[in-house]
């Protein structure tokens, strides 16, 4: 777990053209991952976590303006021509998507779809690719893989389809795996199985993984490091344990309080964060959380706060950590 980072993102910015005008969907996101490391991205819908993932894959719409740097080993990915990017996608960097029901092409057999990246990136024959596809489907726990390889996506359940997309993403033994809400669309009973499968594969193959979720529980159990995103910026980042023990940002604290809990007295209302997520098209000038923050001050609204180190590699983008962290103990 040492040496140069596998993937290094520096000051990533993404500007999207939306129907409401240009929007800065991502600002100043930086992180680095070495082989075998895992990183979680957590936040509400529209916080920029999926846009960050698509930026890494080079799959943002053509109208998107990307700034900063994304390096995979020594290759700069920002502004990389699509032809060169195609050689990396599905080969060195892969992605699992949120919706297994629609992520597979209904017209092609699953065997064809799992074999496709192999045929594309490795020099194997069609017969070898088919054998490899069966082995992959076996590995991701699809029952009767050899028999069902010529079946179509509509003949599988949601959980099985997600296993198929995982097999597809892993076909070429990628170095980096991005999982964007891989279990959100699945039944609760299946969620754990799929996450365990992904965790097992990440460990077995020594991949770096970026796991995106809105679910703090999923993040807590599956990644070593995490970043909390809000309004396109990373508001808090650090070792998962450190962040969960000492939450520094008022938003992280609010997110944590808002989770439902077993054992709470019946009729207890869930705590929510007051207000709504700001529109990316008109973000406030200062801290993007200012309008919903309980301890906001005038100076919070002046400029985007800098990241404050509150522990070993634990950073919080807040100028009032003295107050927020003194209030401390938000858990329980």
């Amino acid at each position: 777990m040492s040496g140069a980072p596998l993937i290094e993102v520096k000051d990533l910015g993404v500007r999207l053209n939306t129907s409401r005008g240009p929007a800065q969907a991502v600002r100043g996101v930086s992180f680095a991952l070495r082989r075998g490391e895992t990183l979680g991205l957590v936040g509400e819908s529209g916080c920029g976590k999926s846009v960050t993932a698509l930026a890494l894959m080079g799959l943002l719409p053509e109208s998107a303006v990307i700034s900063g740097s994304i390096r995979l080993d020594d290759t700069e990915l920002v502004e990389l021509p699509d032809k060169a990017y195609c050689k990396l996608r599905g080969n060195r960097i892969s992605m699992i998507f949120q919706e297994p029901m629609t992520a597979l092409n209904p017209m092609h057999t699953i065997g064809h779809q799992v074999a496709e990246p192999l045929l594309r990136h490795t020099g194997v024959s069609a017969a070898e690719a088919r054998q490899e596809a069966i082995a992959l489907l076996d590995r991701v726990g699809l029952p009767d893989a050899a028999k069902r390889i010529d079946a179509y996506p509509h003949q599988f359940s949601g959980g099985q389809r997600q296993r198929i997309t995982i097999a597809m993403a892993l076909a070429c033994q990628p170095d980096v795996l991005i999982a964007d809400e891989p279990t959100t669309a699945l039944d609760v009973t299946i969620q754990g199985q799929i996450l365990d499968l992904i965790a097992g594969l990440v460990e077995e193959r020594g991949m770096a993984m970026i796991l995106i979720s809105h679910d703090l529980g999923v993040i807590a159990e599956n990644v070593a490091r995490m970043m909390v995103m809000y309004g396109g910026t990373v508001v808090e980042s650090g070792e998962t344990n450190a962040v969960f023990t000492r939450m520094g940002h008022p938003y992280t604290q609010g997110l944590f309080r808002a989770r439902p809990r077993l054992g709470a007295r019946k009729g207890t209302r869930l705590k929510t964060i007051a207000g709504t997520v700001p529109e990316l098209a008109d973000l406030p000038a200062g801290c993007s959380f200012a309008d919903r923050c309980a301890i906001v001050e005038q100076r919070c609204r002046v400029a985007l706060p800098a990241v404050v180190d509150v522990g070993a590699s634990h950073g919080v983008r807040c100028i009032r950590t003295d107050v927020s962290m003194a209030a401390g103990d938000v858990g329980a």
Binding site: G90, L104, N105, M107, Y152
Partner: protein
């Protein structure tokens, strides 16, 4: 698959029966007695009556209908009131022209429409898209007989490349025949192609927004490969549906276009038979057109099941 197939065949047969009944009743309700028309206004009532009996027009409606159906089943469509020759022969010698015309025109339609539709969808909102879509807008607004006259003015009168009308037949090989059908086929195809191009474009654009397109890109496929391997097969179903419906328009269009180009085809036969009150010819020709439309749409339905693996299961 077999259940799907069987159900479609039953629907096909039922539709054909319904069509035959409607055609028979409508033509029977027309005013004017065929025997009177044939013999002229001055003919003696006895002679008219004799001819009526000879043509079988004195029999009850139901009997005449059943005789017609029975005749179609054994391939005997009766004799033309005007020419006195078998209707089946008259139709057969016209189909030699109209079927190649319809096929040529459909091929031109599909080629133009798919090329334009896929090109514009792949270049969505770019200059080429806007340009080609404006052309299709004009194409939709063109009346085909007027466009046919423009084509004659350009290719026959000005450039003297193709003949302005008439049919060379197939006796001297296939090229003279195809040359004489080229302008009519293009005139018929242009409007249809314009409509189908727009359908193709919107079908492809819709599929391009699907999640599996992004999955395919995430595997490392280029935009063009995704279009050919993943998008088109999903987009082709609505396109085929419209193609099936357009085939009916195309057959109706031949009646006008064959008159513009003096082509002795089925359309012209229908036109002349209506003018002559040769209702037995009209009835059989219209039935044939109806059957062609129904069968083409049946074939389209069956093709769905070959293209989309979900359809078989949904219908079992």
């Amino acid at each position: 698959m077999s259940v799907f197939f069987l159900r479609r065949i039953l629907t096909l047969v039922a539709t054909l029966f319904a069509a035959s009944l409607i055609i028979f009743l409508v033509l029977d309700a027309l005013p004017g007695n065929a025997a009177q028309m044939l013999m002229g206004a001055d003919a003696s009532p006895d002679a008219v009556h004799a001819l009526t009996v000879k043509l079988g027009l004195d029999q009850p409606l139901a009997v005449r209908y059943l005789l017609w159906i029975k005749g179609m089943a054994v391939g005997d469509l009766g004799n033309s009131y005007v020419y006195g020759t078998p209707v089946s022969g008259l139709i057969a010698e016209r189909l030699v022209l109209t079927i190649p015309l319809a096929i040529m025109s459909m091929l031109i339609t599909v080629t133009l429409a798919l090329a334009a539709g896929i090109y514009t969808a792949a270049n969505h909102n770019k200059l080429g898209d806007v340009g080609v879509m404006s052309l299709t807008q004009i194409g939709i607004a063109l009346p085909n007989f007027w466009f046919a006259i423009l084509l004659i003015l350009l290719f026959s009168v000005k450039l003297q490349l193709l003949s302005a009308g008439g049919f060379a037949g197939w006796d001297d090989g296939i090229w003279p025949g195809i040359r004489s059908l080229l302008l009519p086929a293009i005139s018929l195809a242009v409007v249809q192609a314009a409509i189908l191009a727009r359908v193709t474009r919107s079908a492809v654009l819709e599929v391009l927004r699907e999640d599996f397109v992004r999955t395919a890109r995430a595997k490392g496929l280029g935009k063009r490969e995704v279009l050919w391997r993943h998008v088109l097969r999903n987009a082709i179903i609505p396109v085929m549906t419209v193609m099936g419906l357009q085939f009916a328009n195309l057959l109706a269009g031949t009646i006008v276009i064959e008159n513009v180009f003096y082509l002795p085809g089925l359309g012209r036969l229908i036109f002349q038979s209506i003018a002559n009150r040769d209702l037995i010819v009209v009835r059989n020709c219209v039935m044939l057109l109806a059957a062609m439309v129904v069968i083409v749409n049946f074939v389209v339905d069956v093709l769905y099941a070959f293209i989309d693996p979900r359809i078989k299961v949904a219908n079992l």
